[in-house]
């Protein structure tokens, strides 16, 4: 007689309490994993959007990124380009080149703007304005050009298009900026009309104000009404980067990250991986205004004309190198 009163297949028995606990734990784990994947897939999709490899023989990055647990400096080349409607996607000049240098040991970030008209040697191409590097060989050639000219090891790159910036700012609910000068531009490129061509009139009053994405883009992009032209634009670009960092401090990264990723998909290319993005985001959240250093090589360049008649900037390289030594110490390439 079956003592338990259970009949059926020999050896089979009603699951015990411990079995239910194990099954419950497994289901919970599966649910958590499924939830995490739903959460994280847009982020992984974004970070999987790499720049196409250049056709030319471009030197490999000078250095591998430092280990996650190290206190070594991390340099990211931030690239910004014209929109991707008007030009071939693989032939965009980089309108913005900023080296973002994160120094965990000293809890400091340096923003170094590189003028787009600077005359440099582009590896495997020859002498040209630095903004041509991205057009000719994508992020890899832009990285190699910066490493060769400035001896700064570039560990990662991040490219952002015009719509990408607009969406980042709007996702943050806008940014607070002290507009340095009245911005008046009767010939501002209207990139968001159907053809990608045409101009519009832009006016931004000077002084502290809240900018949405469209107006933040106008602020960093306009240069026709600025005596300092590209240098003035570099100042404004760094100002907006700082405003973005400050605005992001109030953001909840857990809920915001997937939304950012969805917004930016197709408008950002980067070789940053998820762990590094997370590490950098956490580092940036702890920054105070005094921890960010703004740097420009403008005092060490002069106007000139290239052999083919272009208006260019020539650098006083010994002076530039001394300046970079002040900024980066011994962290430059030999």
């Amino acid at each position: 007689m079956n003592q338990t009163g259970v009949t059926g297949v020999p050896g089979a028995s009603r699951p015990s309490r411990s079995h239910w606990i194990v099954i419950g734990a497994v289901l919970l784990c599966l649910a958590l994993i499924a939830g995490a994947l739903v959460y994280i897939m847009p982020v992984l999709a974004l970070l999987g959007n790499h720049d196409a490899a250049p056709g030319r023989n471009v030197p490999a990055p000078a250095h591998a990124p430092p280990p996650l647990d190290s206190k070594q400096r991390i340099n990211i080349l931030l690239l910004g380009s014209d929109n991707d409607q008007k030009f071939r996607e693989d032939a965009l000049l980089s309108q913005t080149m900023i080296v973002v240098s994160v120094d965990p040991a000293h809890h400091q970030v340096t923003l170094l703007s590189l003028p787009r008209d600077l005359w440099v040697e582009i590896p495997a191409y020859g002498n040209a304005k630095i903004d041509l590097a991205y057009a000719r060989g994508g992020a890899a050639l832009a990285r190699a050009t910066v490493e060769k000219a400035f001896k700064i090891p570039i560990h990662y790159y991040a490219w952002i298009g015009l719509k990408g910036l607009v969406r980042v700012v709007d996702r943050l609910g806008g940014i607070d900026v002290d507009v340095l000068h009245p911005v008046l531009d009767d010939n501002y490129p209207n990139d968001f009309n159907a053809s990608g061509y045409g101009t519009e009139r832009v006016y931004l009053a000077a002084g502290p104000q809240h900018l949405d994405g469209r107006h933040a883009l106008q602020y960093v992009r306009s240069r026709h009404g600025d005596l300092l032209s590209d240098f003035g634009r570099s100042i404004r670009q760094q100002q907006v980067l700082l405003a973005l960092q400050q605005q992001a401090e109030g953001m909840d990264p857990v809920t915001a990250l997937p939304n950012f990723a969805r917004d930016l998909n197709g408008h950002v290319k980067t070789d940053l991986d998820l762990v590094r993005v997370t590490q950098l985001a956490l580092f940036m959240r702890g920054l105070r205004a005094g921890d960010v250093r703004q740097a420009f090589i403008t005092p060490f360049v002069r106007d000139a004309t290239s052999p083919d008649g272009q208006q260019i900037l020539l650098a006083d390289w010994p002076a530039v190198n001394r300046y970079l030594r002040q900024l980066f110490g011994e962290d430059l390439l030999s």
Binding site: L184, G250, V254
Partner: protein, 342 residues
Amino acid sequence: MNRRDRTLTLAAIALLAAACSSNGATPHDPGKVVLPSKQMTVAGKLYATKGRSLYRFSGTHLTPLLTGVKVKDPAVSADGTRLAFAQLQEQSSAIVLGDVEGKARQRITPPSAPEGALWAFSPSFSADAKQLLYLTDRGKEPSSPRDLKPNDLGVWLYDAGTGRSHRVVAPAPYTGGDSDPLFRPGASDQLIYTTYLYGGVPLQPAARLTWMSTRTGASVSLSPERARNFQPAFSPDGQYLAFIRADSGRDDLYVMALGTSFSREPRPYPTEAAILLQSGMVSQPVWAPDGSAIAFLMPTKGSFDLFVLPVTTTGTVRASGPAQAVTHGSFLDADSRLAWSP
């Protein structure tokens, strides 16, 4: 555990850590003016814009005005009967003048001219309301992408008696031009404005408060070459000038005394002796008609809101209490002037 799994695990841990230290979500524009639960009583009538719509705060009442009109830079005459503002169109703007309810409106500047579409902003009444100062890019050269010309804003004066305008200050090219023109109360031949320029080596953006005698045409700077001082606002008696000083990433509200008669070389610069009234990212200061307070816009958690700071000018000028919020989380237009009338 492979590399991908480790990546996901680490990321999840890091995100959870970030969540623990989160300050909460960034506030977004509610699309309307929001008053705090403990409402402040506004003496007189205080005007501000939100989303280019004009609002009047008076007592504890909030009144929308000029429905459907895109308004920037409202100005009210000293007697509180006349209203002027910049009316925004798609690619241009014009100065409009009317009564204080926004009725009987007339446009006093053209939206376009042979040189192209025009901007006009920042109207400001003379004490008798017979003249208006304003900004415009009128008189610029026609410009195209292949033949770029400067289109900076200059200071112009409109005479209600003749219905004509003329330029008072020509802007320096490619600086953005001048801003914030004001008549000095009690001195009809003096005006103040902000000159935008570049100073130092290498050149950096600068903003100087400029004092001008309309009688002689002479002008002098009240602030140093490399500093950024802007958005002047006169006390009702014309003795004190409040303004914003940008320094070290802040835009603080200062106030200074100004000599009664026009001086050719005020040294040291009067702004150097100015007194700090309010720290923060302050914008668009304006004095109460009785001189007892200064209103301004300042962001809290991403939203520019309206504040009123009580001040006293007995002895030395100073704040006589903390600033009180008139709005809360309203995202008011911080690039648009405030106006305050009896």
